[in-house]
Amino acid sequence: MNRVLRAFWLVVMLSVPLWLQDQYLLHVLITTGIFIIAAMSLNLLLGYTGQLSLGHVAFFGIGAYASALTTLGFDVELFPGFRAVHQPLPAIIGFFVAMLVAGMSGYVIGRLSFKVRGAYFVIVTISFAEVTRLVALNWVELTQGPLALTNIPPYTLGISGIGFYTLWSKTAYYYFVLAVGLVAYVVISRLVGSRIGRAMIALKENETLASSVGIDVTHYLVLAAVLSAALAGGAGSLYAHYLKIIDPDIFLFIYTVTMVIMVITGGKGTLAGPIVGGLIFGFLPVIVRPIAAPAVQWILYGALMVMIVFVLPRGIVPALDRCLARWTQSRDKVLSMAGSGKPNLSKQP
């Protein structure tokens, strides 16, 4: 049953560009996909280790800038008399550099931030994100500041000697994002089912108990932060090369909030949660846009967020799971009653 369902969704996702002719909707689907990947990475921290990081956009933005700068090249003076010069490299290398650089920042920020918990952790992560935003805004020599990095080329895939393919079209880009998303999904689902994932969940449930049975809490938290940051960095790279322009606004707090809303609405700590939440908040603007101003849309988002926390505090996916479980249970009960009823009937002459 589960396998059939999974195959069905895979076919649906693979066939989208065949039946979806509207280029605008395809565009929304691509950006939604990128944000779903970012939300999946946040879910690793928020859902599985229980740490509410509100600076996640820092890794997304760092990835976007790292990828764009790798591809465009730069020439900056680090110290007086010492210049760092970098020649442009292919965009696909930028993608991996983005994951690497974001992962390393995840290590540093994680090491520092996990010294505190709860409200302090939340505030310190926001601070890190704001500092990176201000650096991107003010280090004009490297990032062009508010003038933005422009003309970021799309990815080119291929092997030398066989042939190359550049992702110019939306359809091609859709498949690339889908592929990255599927890999991320598989990696995360394997991870949370492994020893590492169980350790993370254990320290979410009860940190003191987890450390008393020998789980190195900081080690696993930092590990989660590194993996989560690297994935967010990859999503940032996808975003940069898709839009072909990035500016320091990519670090705005509101993007973190968007990712958090997606995870919470869908259901934190579930594999499908970020996808469900991401699709809802990715396509909500498409539905609401013709009838409401942007400010009204955001009011709706905020109100929805409050309502979700009040009505479905665990998110949509766990609620659906429970409904489904209840339904199958009652169906089984009916079937078994019917089943046990039959022989009785047949016994009657």
């Binding site: 520092l112 505190v116 505030i123 601070s127 704001e130 955001w298 905020g302």
Partner: protein, 290 residues
């Protein structure tokens, strides 16, 4: 030297309003254990109320100021009763998410009503600044410092000299025991949130005429209030007062001598440095995990 003196004077004036913001937030966190993301929006609400009453309706500026503080308290009480009271026993993260949602709703309501264009509030103070030796200060800023100072003293007196203040301090120390002693905890929570909100609205109402009023003005105010509170230690009112002045000094000196582009980064750097090296805040009092 003259320049340094001018920076110091500016810092003191800014510090007064920062202290107001910080005291409001630290009260709410200390007593209610709520990370209040709407704090900056109440700051913006105070500024918009003054703009609406004074500039749009033509009410007296000083009356508009008083009205803004009262309106801030009412809005705070409303928020507390509607959103926080039902979530009293839930996880701190859940409450944070609700407050973020409320923050988004409030900010965009402002944007919807007032538009994105910055508004200026005209005050009855003379344009010519007060000049003392090498330093010049506008009369408005002198007034702002004065009112901020009065409000800080009033808050101290409220907390330390009144029955309500005693009940608040008791709730801060141990809410269960306070409830056993017959203190109306729900009322105390609402009063605390209203007081904190009123102080934020007052800070906004005072700084609104000094700077410009925009729908996003609350974002940085929230984050700066966090910085002040962390500097002073959560729940520590004296710490928040001193923290407000420290942040203003660091920002002013940083903007004057390092780079004005990194002015707003100073608060965040303070947060990061303090949490890394002295996570209990500069004026240690309560424990800080959780």
């Amino acid at each position: 030297m003259d320049q340094l003196l001018q920076h110091l004077v500016n810092a003191v004036i800014l510090g007064g309003t920062y202290a107001l913001l910080g005291i409001g937030l630290t009260l709410i966190f200390g007593i209610m254990r709520v990370v209040n993301f709407t704090h900056g929006e109440l700051y913006a609400f105070g500024a918009y109320t003054v703009y609406f009453l004074a500039a749009a309706l033509g009410l007296n500026f000083f009356l508009a100021l008083a009205a803004a503080v009262i309106a801030g308290a009412l809005l705070g009480a409303l928020l507390e009763i509607a959103l926080l009271r039902p979530l009293r026993s839930t996880d701190i993260d859940v409450v944070m998410l609700v407050m973020i949602g409320a923050w988004i709703v409030m900010q965009n309501t402002e944007l919807l009503i007032w538009g994105g264009v910055a508004k200026a509030i005209v005050t009855p103070f003379p344009d010519a600044p007060l000049v003392i030796g090498p330093v010049s200060v506008s009369w408005l800023r002198v007034f702002v410092l004065l009112v901020a100072f009065l409000l800080i003293v009033a808050t101290y007196l409220l907390i330390h000299r009144t029955k309500l203040g005693k009940a608040m301090r008791a709730t801060f120390q141990d809410s269960d025991t306070a409830a056993l002693m017959g203190i109306n905890i729900r009322g105390i929570y609402t009063a605390t949130f209203a007081l904190g909100s009123a102080l934020a609205a007052a800070a906004g109402a005072l700084l609104g005429p000094v700077f410009l009023v925009t729908p996003t003005m609350g974002d940085l105010a929230s984050l700066k209030a966090f910085a002040i509170v962390i500097l002073g230690g959560l729940g520590n009112i004296t710490g928040a007062t001193i923290g407000g002045f420290i942040l203003a000094f660091v920002e002013e000196i940083g903007a004057g001598y390092i780079s004005s582009g990194y002015r707003d980064a100073m608060g965040f750097l303070i947060i990061i440095v303090v949490l890394l090296f002295k996570p209990t805040g500069l004026f240690e009092r309560a424990e800080r995990v959780g």
